[in-house]
Amino acid sequence: MNRHDPHNIVVSGVGGQGNILIARLLGRLFAIKGYQVSIAETFGAAQRGGSVFSSLRISKKKTGGPLIPFGRADIIIGIEPLETLRMLKYFGNPNVSTFTNDKPVYPIGVLRGNDRYPSTGKLKAALKTLSKNLLIIPATEAALECGGAIMANIVMLGALAGSELLLLPKEDIIAEVKESVPADKVSMNLKAFEMGFELSQRSSVKHLCPS
């Protein structure tokens, strides 16, 4: 099979949701498979609540720069739906596969009543129009079931794994999850991963293939 080389993956969310953990975990996985890996972390002054994203580039050919060029993402993973849309604005293209959590984290302006968070319908429609493949899952809800909203990132990773788009064996990903989370939180994280995996396998997105 062919994937774009370099293959570009964006992981986005708001500060504190753990997108950097996902990007690094994927980076290590691809490194083991013999890929060159380059990651950029963009977090600005965001302690909590600001837009944060990581870009991951993998290549069989060369070690390139970590910045994904405008309009050149192959996969976008979002832990917050509005941030996923923001990533599509910069990195989207007609061939992108998008995976997103459905649970909003309202910006301060929405809480104050100054801004309006987009309606679920409009948000979904926009995400769908701008993606070749789209999977929206209740990752926060699933994570809460496993023991904490903080694991929404692992649910999203499970969803990505379930799509088989990564072309990585599931057990390899699981092994890396075990390595990446605190020892006393392994079982709950694996449960979160499995829930994401299941949600993804049950959807039509599992049939998608890299173009």
Partner: protein, 646 residues
């Protein structure tokens, strides 16, 4: 100011000892320094530089290194220089703003060099193009020329490792410090890096060189320094790090350094112009390899310079060409407007410039897709404002300060400083700070403003700084203020860490960089010794803090210091793993959006609202259980219950 990287785990080594590991650029820089046999390292935290010293501190015991977080960048540079003068290998790191603080000393150091004991000193400065986490996006490359110091700029993490090693060699050979410029997309990028062999430098510290500078000696020293730079230039002209790649007769040559190199490669690749465009990578920033430029650039008639942030290479390329009748070669870049004159370099910016210069049709994305973005995405994309974390003591402090000012009624003027409290100026803050500049500048500005009463200035003045900032550069300004009879209230928000950059210790806490017990220097004692009146309070007690603040404003003379002490919530959580209170909103008492006081005024990110019912609630996954909001609800609808375990 900076973005912290809390909760990031260091990459685990792979099973094989010598296997490549995925590590941050800053970690690679630290690793390279250890491999080069570094003995002494110092720095002051600042994004994107902080992980360099942190990584070295973690390895300090294993490799017998002296590693410190210094009070400021100048002191850090002085300490590192002393080690080099004594024959050791040293490294000092800082962000772009910090280089300005250290520059007075470093400029002197260039004139004397580091002596004849065989030591070496590498200065790593990490710029922040785009000002992701900075108050400016200054380009440090000019300052190497300004301070007569050679500078190298790596274009990848792998290259950074080799450049650090080379910088140590050059420093030892020429007996002067060597600067290495990093930047956000190197420092905070990760790539696979193979560990190298670790050299140990076992010099016995001794001092015997005469390295004094006085007005009489400075002039000949300047001459010697320039002569030394001339020898550096011969090395740099022949350095294999400056390399040309591409066709022999290109239509266009891109000259690039740092992040510009990768962006140019991406752009050429995306546009499929490998056969038409060449790339000249420049690593030796100063002295500038002019002969190399004149050798390579005549291959093409047009040159694009891809760099960040300022047109540093562009100016030097133009100067070189002008000197040698190279005017037939046209140079494009930031100065000519082909790349925007500010902000980060990106692949797409290089693409756009290339398309413009070569007059080729190129679209970053199809117009159909862009139209979809414009109609479907753009109208929905509201901004995400920044805010203090749930449980942050600063939110409570600013709440009390705002209340005190209102009660005082004289429209007090607030001057800020650099730290998490800077978030006050964003919509999620209280918008109290009206003047905000460099580290420690708040006290200096207040010192001046507080002397203007004789001209009729009537507003009370409050200057606000943090604990680490206080030690960094506020102290001399406060001494100045007391001595020169200035009048203002200095608030020190002591959250017991350099929080924004990742909780580094400072002299006000009893641990040092490597986690050992260290003497704690009490800021209240220091301020008292300066002759200021000092009060210490807990910001979580809103009523009492407001009362004290109002009292201090009323005193209206001399320098009043108010220390608001409460550990950073992220740090507290890391240390205790406990949530003190379970906090919730009683829907019976809450008046919802009609009131909205908690959402609009307190603005803790743990408050959320059910948009359907307009009913505020507290997100249990976000709330830190500080309980401060219980004090602010006008309907007394926020309730707190006993401690629960995390």
């Amino acid at each position: 100011m900076s973005g912290s990287q809390q909760n990031i785990k260091t990459m685990k080594p792979q099973s094989k000892a010598k296997a490549a590991r995925l590590i941050l650029g800053n970690e690679a820089i630290a690793e390279a320094a250890i491999e080069a046999g570094v003995n002494y390292a110092a720095g002051y935290p600042g994004t994107p530089s902080s992980e360099i010293i942190q990584t070295l501190a973690n390895q300090a015991e294993k490799f017998n290194l002296r590693v410190e977080w210094s009070t400021n960048e100048k002191v850090a540079a002085e300490g590192a220089a002393a080690a080099a003068v004594a024959g050791l290998r040293s490294l000092v790191s800082m962000k772009n703003a910090g280089l300005s603080v250290a520059l007075d000393f470093l400029t002197h150091l260039s004139l004397t060099g580091i002596g004849k004991r065989g030591g070496s000193m590498v200065v790593v400065v990490c710029d922040d193009p785009d000002a992701h986490s900075s108050g400016d996006e200054t380009d440090s490359r000019w300052l190497s020329r300004f301070s007569y110091a050679p500078m190298l700029e790596p274009s990848s993490i792998d290259e950074a490792k080799r450049i650090i090693s080379w910088a140590f060699h050059l420093s030892q050979e020429f007996a002067c410090h060597v600067m290495v410029r990093s930047y956000t997309r190197l420092s905070h990028a990760s790539a696979l890096v193979k560990p190298g062999k670790k050299a140990r430098h076992k010099a016995k510290p001794a001092t015997d060189s005469s390295l004094s500078l006085t007005p009489y000696l400075a002039r000949p020293a300047h001459g010697r320094t320039l002569a030394r730079l001339a020898i550096f230039l011969t090395y740099f002209e022949n350095s294999p790090y400056n390399a040309y790649e591409g066709p022999d007769d290109p239509d266009l040559i891109v000259v690039a350094s740092g992040s510009g190199v990768n962006c140019a490669r991406d752009a050429i690749d995306i546009m499929g112009l490998e056969n038409k465009i060449g790339l000249l990578k420049i690593v030796t920033i100063w002295p500038f390899p002019e002969s190399l430029i004149l050798k390579i650039l005549p291959k093409a008639k047009r040159v694009l310079v891809a760099e960040e942030v300022d047109p540093y290479l562009e100016v030097h390329v133009n100067a070189a060409l002008n000197r040698c009748d190279g005017r037939r070669i046209k140079v494009f870049g930031r100065e000519t407007g082909h790349i925007e004159p500010y902000g980060e370099i990106t692949p797409e910016r290089v693409c756009t410039a290339i398309a413009q210069i070569l007059r080729v049709k190129f679209r970053l994305r199809s117009s159909e897709y862009q139209a979809q973005i414009d109609t479907n995405a753009e109208p929905l994309l509201i901004n995400r404002g920044l805010s203090w974390c749930p449980g942050c003591p600063h939110r409570a402090s600013f709440w009390a300060i705002e209340r005190a000012i209102k009660k005082d009624g004289r429209d007090a003027y607030i001057i800020g400083d650099i730290g998490c409290y800077t978030l006050d100026v964003f919509p999620g803050g209280k918008g109290q700070m009206k003047l905000l500049h460099a580290m420690g500048s708040g006290a200096g500005l207040a010192s001046g403003l507080g002397r203007l009463t004789s001209f009729g200035y009537k507003h009370p003045i409050i200057s606000i700084c943090g604990d680490s900032t206080f030690f960094h550069a506020s102290m001399p300004a406060l001494i100045n203020a007391v001595h020169n009879d200035s009048h203002f209230v200095q608030v020190i928000l002591d959250n017991e860490a350099t929080a924004m950059t990742g909780f580094q210790p400072h002299p006000g806490i009893s641990l040092n960089a490597v986690g050992q017990p260290a003497p704690r220097i009490k800021m209240e004692d220091l301020c008292q010794a300066m002759g200021a009146q000092v009060v210490v309070a807990d910001p979580f007690d809103l009523k009492e803090t407001t009362r004290i603040m109002r009292d201090l404003l009323r005193r209206d003379q001399g320098v009043q210091v108010l220390i608001l002490r409460r550990t950073c919530e992220l740090l507290r959580m890391k240390q205790t793993r406990k949530i003190p209170f379970s906090v919730s909103i009683d829907p019976e008492r809450c008046r919802g959006r009609k009131c909205g006081f908690c959402l609009q005024q307190f603005q803790c990110p743990a408050f959320d609202i059910k948009l359907e019912t307009e009913q505020p609630y507290i997100r249990s996954d976000m709330c830190s259980g500080c309980g401060v909001c219980v004090q602010i609800c006008p309907s007394k609808a926020i309730l707190k219950k006993e401690q629960i375990q995390y």
